[in-house]
């Protein structure tokens, strides 16, 4: 889960993973729903909202918790008693419309709920030719067979740049859609879908009169074939891939960088030069963030130690860093602040860093 708060105050939520365990106060998982809610604003009806919710792709670990925590259906149906978060505008990949009909990819219940809501909003737009907050949607990328051609204003095509959010122009950001790429044919579609065709977006944030104060590259779970294609397309103008902050694709998976299996081939596994190049456009001081468990030196993937080594190799020459959201051990989220000088990681607070930790409360303690 990534929450971007623009200088204008608007918010873009990117993917969520709110497990049932996280909703249990005694559970081990941090209460991410509470962390999210504490950072969102309420409107005049006391309704919590995000201005945009970008779902990069409909895997369970990117959409889990949608029904529990977000209002679905018409905005008029929102109620204070349930106090769910209103999504003013959905930003959705077109794959959502297809996966629901494919047997190879079964959508989890939350993803199916997202697809239903997305289709409701598309239908609303088709009926009225416009939409208001809570009914708005942007479809990011064209579908095969020109199925999305009729969407007009709500369709963003690959390589287009947009600066509108929830129906308003916002000068504090611009987003360039890099993927999903429209597949040329069924065979390619098969390859791409197996590689977790995600929304890939370069997000440029303005701050303190610096229109390009920070660049984020966000690629969901996109894997090696996607990144190779992206590189082939942009290698002559690689600036569209440049980043200060890269959210390491697929939770720091080796499969974003290589065709080989890390667990089987280990050090024999070869990195794809093109995929690596696509992910190597780090600007000075860039940070690669792994949204994953701590990266361990073992055969697990993701997160994969070999992928981490590649990312360290990419950012070290430019004075950058590799960070994992679970570094530090605390439950507090990793916060990146952007000012005129660029993006900066917010240092961990004392409470969140577990410095006031105690062994009491973790298990039954015998007292003789």
């Amino acid at each position: 889960m990534t929450l971007v708060e623009l200088e204008s105050g608007r918010t873009i939520l990117i993917d969520i993973r709110i497990r049932a365990d996280a909703d249990d106060p005694d559970g081990e998982a941090p209460d991410v729903a509470a962390q999210l809610r504490s950072r969102l604003k309420r409107d005049e009806n006391d309704c919590l909202y995000v201005d945009a919710f970008l779902l990069t792709h409909p895997d369970a670990d990117h959409i889990c918790g949608l029904r529990n925590h977000f209002h679905l259906g018409t905005p008029e149906g929102w109620s204070k008693s349930s106090d769910k978060i209103l999504i003013r505008e959905m930003w959705s990949s077109p794959i959502i419309f297809r996966r629901a009909n494919r047997k190879s990819h079964i959508l989890c219940d939350d993803a199916a709920a997202w697809a239903t809501e997305a289709r409701r909003r598309v239908a609303y737009f088709k009926q009225w030719g416009f939409a208001n907050a809570g009914n708005r949607i942007k479809v990011l990328g064209e579908d095969i067979d020109r199925k999305t051609d009729a969407l007009g204003a709500i369709l963003i095509k690959a390589d287009e740049t947009f600066s509108t959010i929830d129906g308003a122009f916002d000068s504090s950001f611009s987003a360039r859609l890099l993927g999903p790429l429209p597949p040329a044919d069924e065979a390619e579609e098969e390859v791409l879908s197996k590689n977790d065709s995600s929304v890939i977006i370069q997000l440029t944030l303005a701050s303190g009169n610096q229109p390009q104060a920070a660049r984020y590259l966000i690629g969901g779970d996109a894997e090696v074939a996607i990144w190779e294609r992206i590189w082939a397309k942009h290698k002559l103008v690689p600036d569209v891939l440049a980043y200060d902050i890269l959210i390491a694709p697929h939770h720091c998976s080796w499969h974003s960088l290589s065709w080989d299996s890390w667990s089987k081939k280990r050090e024999e596994a070869k990195v794809s030069a093109d995929a690596r190049s696509a992910l190597a456009q780090a600007r000075p001081g860039a940070v690669v963030i792994a949204s994953s468990k701590p990266v361990k030196d073992d055969e697990s993937d993701p997160p994969c130690i070999r992928a981490k080594r590649e990312y360290v190799g990419i950012v070290k020459p430019v004075g950058g860093e590799f960070r994992c959201v679970s570094d530090g051990g605390g439950d507090e989220p990793l916060v990146v602040e952007t000012n005129w000088a660029g993006p900066k990681l917010k240092r961990a607070g004392l409470i969140g860093a577990g410095l006031y930790a105690t062994g009491v409360g973790s298990e039954a303690l015998a007292h003789g």
């Binding site: 920070a214 000075p284 001081g285 530090g328 000088a341 900066k344 004392l350």
Partner: protein
């Protein structure tokens, strides 16, 4: 330095080891290592990682030179944790940051981490709290956020300086013109004869010449046993325009490191005022050469750099940097090596200082005000407001300060047990307190009641521009006299008093145009109180206990501790100060405070009142009628409920004898056996007596039934039926009776009263409209 591994094996004290363990656990600490130990002092180097924007991290440091990883030395003495460790940055750390403690140029910079004491921080938040503060300091330093326009320019750290000059900053800064310059001033000083010999100076801002015959510099006299004193010369210097024609602004922060005349001149050059300072220094030096002195005297130098924006804690962009040079006995002003001492600065207690410290805004309105009543509540209100930079301009009270007053009055006895000999008035005692912080207020040792009756008295109570009269006498008569006074431009009254034997408090603030007036507000307060049984019990059940003062003398006053009185008075002072700062409300306002059952807590409520509807009298003796908007709304609602017929009800309120007016604050609905028709409204009786009894009981008689209202379908005055009813009721009511008539054209009224043993009936009619309330 010794290598850690070569350190003697003597164990590290447990508190130090614990501190280091905590430091290591801080997420921003990369490493901790022992770098030196001398006897029982341990020096540790702590590597602190600062999060920086990407482009800065790429080059390893921020534009101002703070490194991504800074090594900071912490020196623990054997007194830790009683004494916080000394924290030193690397010697070449950029010094252009505020919050660096003053120190010589060669020594490592010492960050000033907290406004208070570091050891207090360690006690309250643990050693980790100190480290966190250090991390925060470095992060802000890296981004130059220690100084920013929003928070203001951080003045140069000048803590722990024992030579002090007391200066009125506002007056000093007023010397600074766009043209650069310097000025002499003469400052009386006291010099203690301790080892170091601390100086205390007061620099009055009265620039004057240092004439050829002026010998003040050379005269010194013994002041007291351990001190000597004299007059010294102070030189203030400031910058003008630079070579580029622009005003010279000292926008680079420099920590204080002046130790010699050469340093001082370098500092003056940096602040753009060297040429002006030099001219004065040379002049004084030539005088000293011509007439050498055999004693040591101080010379004060005040550099006044112009900062790019407002200096923190002030309203000015001029900073005051003071220095002191001792001359005489061979020490001179031309030798660059002559020692210079840092001179701390204390402001004179001015309105600006008081306002700032009170969290009040100097730019906020200053409303001249008059205090009537200088007793315990009044004296404390005056003191609170004076300390907030809002002192009263006129004090009115005719009483003397008697011995029993000292139980609660803000003043203390003039001369112990002989106090009463001197006949000290209450206004005098309050004026003495006020004048130590503000211009001396005017005193009127007169009966406040008589003053509104003649023009001279009105001007004395409220000189021109007086914005409010605060009445703390608690006198019901005074409230009526002032509230209803025939005084066209009377400033609004604010009443503040304790009620209910000191267990409740009342503040009333009049609306504009004295509508509602102080008397109306108390009537409204009674109406609010009667509806709250617990509060009514407190306010209306109080039995004033006479306190025996001396044989044959007694006064009405409540037995009440000073602390309890002060607790309420403090709250009332906040309300009055708020009205001063933010301006008076358009409508009136009632505030009621009550003491909780625990005898300590307070609960305050606020009741705003829109302007009342006033039906003015049309003849001299005729009562006026003042109607609360709530009553008008209730009447209109009742009429809307009964279209096409006359309707009516019962009026609740009071009659002010002094104001000769009815104050209507509420209504009782017509009993269910009332009848309504096109021709008339007949007020029934069923259940009405019970309601009236309850009203009188709940308000303990402060409010009563004062008459009735009814509607006329056409604009018209009292009918024959009305007059007959009025005459009947007048004989049954001991005070005047009001029959209020609502018509579509406004209100008219019939007032009747039986006087002369019930034989003479006075009748009068009045006509008014809703807009009369304005």
């Amino acid at each position: 330095m010794t290598d850690a591994s070569a350190a003697p094996a003597a164990p590290i004290p447990i508190p130090v080891a614990r501190a280091l363990r905590q430091a290591s656990a801080h997420p921003s600490v990369d490493g901790v290592k022992l770098v030196d130990r001398v006897d029982d002092e341990f020096v540790y180097s702590i590597d602190i990682r600062t999060e920086m924007p990407a482009t800065w991290r790429a080059v390893g440091q921020s534009p101002i030179g703070v490194r991504v990883v800074e090594s900071v030395n912490l020196t623990f003495s054997s007194l830790y944790p009683l004494l916080a460790p000394l924290i030193e940055l690397r010697a070449d750390f950029d010094r252009s940051h505020p919050h660096l403690n003053p120190g010589p140029a060669g020594a490592p910079p010492v960050p000033c981490l907290v406004a208070g004491s570091p050891r207090e921080l360690i006690q309250t938040r643990g050693f980790i709290g100190l480290i966190d503060q250090l991390v925060e300091w470095l992060e802000k330093a890296s981004a130059l956020e220690l100084n920013n326009p929003a928070a203001g320019w951080e003045p140069v750290r000048r803590d722990h300086i024992h030579d002090i000059a007391v200066v009125d900053s506002a007056a000093l800064h007023a010397l600074v013109e766009r043209k650069g310059g310097a000025a002499y001033m003469w400052a009386p000083y006291i010099h203690t004869r301790s080892d170091v010999g601390h100086y205390r100076l007061h620099v009055p801002i009265e620039p004057g010449p240092f004439g050829p015959n002026d010998t003040r510099l050379f005269a010194r006299r013994n002041f007291r046993f351990r001190e000597d004193s004299g007059h010294c010369l102070a030189i203030a210097a400031w910058a003008g325009k630079g070579g580029d024609g622009q005003l010279q602004v000292a926008d680079v922060y420099r920590p204080e490191d002046v130790a010699t005349l050469a340093d001082l001149r370098a500092r003056a050059a940096a602040y753009g005022c060297l040429e002006f300072l030099d001219a004065k220094l040379k002049h004084v030096a030539s005088r000293l050469t011509a007439q050498p002195i055999d004693i040591i005297v101080p010379i004060v130098v005040l550099l006044l750099p112009r900062r790019p924006y407002r200096v923190v804690g002030t309203d000015s962009n001029i900073e005051t940097c003071g220095y002191l040079v001792e001359v005489g006995k061979g020490a001179d002003l031309l030798n660059p090596e002559t020692a210079v001492r840092l001179l701390g600065h204390r402001d004179t207690p001015s309105v600006a200082v008081l306002r700032r410290t009170s969290g009040d805004d100097l730019a906020a309105a200053t409303l001249p005000w008059t205090l009537i009543g200088c007793g315990s509540v009044g004296s404390k209100l005056a003191l609170h407001l004076t300390r907030a930079g809002r002192a009263p301009g006129v004090l009115v009270d005719r009483d003397l300060l008697e011995p029993h007053n000292f139980a609660r009055h803000a003043a203390l006895p003039f001369d112990g047990e002989r106090h009463s000999l001197y006949m000290i008035s209450k206004t005098y005692s309050v004026a003495e307190m006020v004048r130590s912080l503000a211009p001396e207020p005017k005193r009127l040792d007169l009966d406040a009641l008589s003053l509104p009756l003649h023009a001279d008295g009105r001007i004395a109570v409220a000189p021109s521009a007086t914005a409010m009269i605060v009445n703390t006498t608690g006198s019901a008569v005074l409230r009526e006299v002032y509230g209803h006074a025939d005084w066209a431009d009377r400033p609004p009254l604010v009443e503040a008093c304790l009620v209910g034997a000191g267990r409740a408090a009342f503040v009333g603030i009049e609306g504009s145009g004295a509508n509602p007036n102080a008397s109306d507000l108390m009537a409204e307060a009674y109406n609010v109180i009667r509806q709250d049984a617990a509060l009514a019990d407190i306010v209306f059940s109080a039995e004033a206990e006479a306190i025996q003062i001396g044989q044959g003398c007694s006064t009405f006053s409540f037995a009440l501790s000073d602390a309890q009185l002060s607790a309420f008075t403090a709250s009332m002072a906040m309300v009055v100060a708020g009205a001063q700062r933010e301006g008076l409300p358009q409508g009136g306002e009632v505030r009621l405070g009550r003491l909780g059952d625990d005898g300590v807590s307070q609960q305050w409520s606020r009741f705003a009142t829109a302007p009342w509807i006033v039906v003015e009298r049309t003849a001299a003796d005729q009562p006026a009628i003042r109607i609360h908007p709530r009553v008008h709304a209730a009447i209109e609602a009742d009429i809307a409920q009964w279209p096409g017929v006359e309707t009516g009800g019962v009026l609740i309120g009071r009659f002010s004898q002094i104001g000769n007016c009815f104050q209507v604050v509420d209504t009782l609905p017509a009993p269910e056996d009332s009848t309504r028709s096109v021709a008339e409204f007949v007020l029934g009786t069923r259940g009405l007596k019970t309601l009236i009894d309850a009203l009188v009981q709940s308000s303990r008689g402060t409010l009563q039934v004062i008459g009735t209202w009814h509607s006329h379908l056409q604009p018209s005055g009292p009918s024959g039926t009305d007059i007959a009813t009025g005459a009947l009721l007048a004989t049954q009511q001991l005070g005047p009776l009001l029959m209020l008539i609502h018509t579509s054209g406004g209100y008219s009224a019939l007032t009747t009263e039986a006087v002369g043993g019930g034989k003479t009936l006075l009748m009068a009619t009045a006509r008014g409209s809703e807009s009369d309330g304005a």
